[in-house]
């Protein structure tokens, strides 16, 4: 059903995740776009800002809220060649989180660097 593009065009894709992982479906469905999009061999980066940083929190347990614990998928992104994960420092700090609290390797950048990342991207998905 999915056809890879044969145009050879490679664009800078940026997926901005700014919502908490649970409570709404945005974060989960955003990850589905990332996984499908990985087959298209584009230049992909993920950014985590605001409550989106909670998506990467270690040791999530959703068993009591009857939703899927999709946080485990982030660890598998490497296999999809999705390796550029950026987390905004201010968002982490204002929520009392440290890099050690996250489940995967990320690059922590400040908001001015995040602004540059967004400006330099060509296709931006904002979930």
């Amino acid at each position: 059903m999915e056809e890879e593009l044969e145009s050879g065009v490679v664009k800078k894709f940026l997926y901005i995740n700014r919502r908490a992982p649970h409570g709404t479906v945005y974060a989960h469905e955003a990850l589905e776009v990332v996984l499908i999009g990985a087959a298209f061999e584009q230049d992909v980066s993920l950014a985590f800002i605001d409550d989106g940083v909670f998506q990467l929190k270690k040791d999530q347990d959703t068993s009591e809220i009857n939703t899927k614990n999709f946080s485990k998928i982030f660890a598998a992104l490497e296999m999809y060649d999705v390796e550029k994960l950026y987390v905004e420092r201010e968002s982490l700090e204002s929520r009392g989180l440290k890099e050690d609290d996250l489940s995967v390797d990320v690059k922590v950048i400040d908001s001015s660097e995040m602004k540059k990342l967004i400006t330099d991207s060509e296709v931006i998905f904002n979930f």
Binding site: M1, E2, E3, L5, S7, V9, K11, F13, V25, Y26, E29, E32, V33, I36, G37, A39, F40, Q42, V123, I124, F125, N126
Partner: protein
């Protein structure tokens, strides 16, 4: 310019679909091209032909269908989002053994690859949602 449009919210609850429609119409009127409108999250609910809004209200799904008929616009509902929310076309009806379909004229159901393709092919991808 070639635009791709992403609609992330359902009809009536949220202004996203209205804004996307008005944007698409204005862009076409100015001579631009809409490569595709992709509906994701609750946005897939814009594609139901079973909506019956009051007569003095706009009919959001029909409005999309009419725009697509007039200007040959590709209206795509994400299959994964559609399956979760009960949006069904004749193929999906057969595949998932449902007793009905509910997709409106000119809409089709396809994969998320269609959204990525819109990102690659369009000169601008515009998102409508929160």
């Amino acid at each position: 310019m070639i635009f791709g449009i992403l609609v992330n919210e359902g009809p009536y609850q949220h202004q996203a679909s209205d804004s996307a429609y008005l944007f698409a119409k204005a862009a076409i009127d100015e001579g631009h091209t809409i490569f595709r409108v992709f509906f994701y999250h609750d946005g897939v609910n814009n594609g139901t032909r079973l909506a019956t809004p009051p007569q003095d209200d706009r009919h959001i799904p029909n409005r999309w269908s009419e725009l697509a008929n007039e200007h040959n616009i590709d209206l795509v509902l994400c299959v994964a989002a559609a399956q979760r929310r009960g949006m069904v076309d004749p193929d999906e009806m057969k595949r998932n053994k449902k007793d009905a379909d509910n997709i409106a004229d000119k809409f089709r159901i396809s994969g998320l690859g269609q959204l990525i393709e819109a990102g690659v092919q369009a000169e601008r991808l515009i998102t409508f949602g929160d």
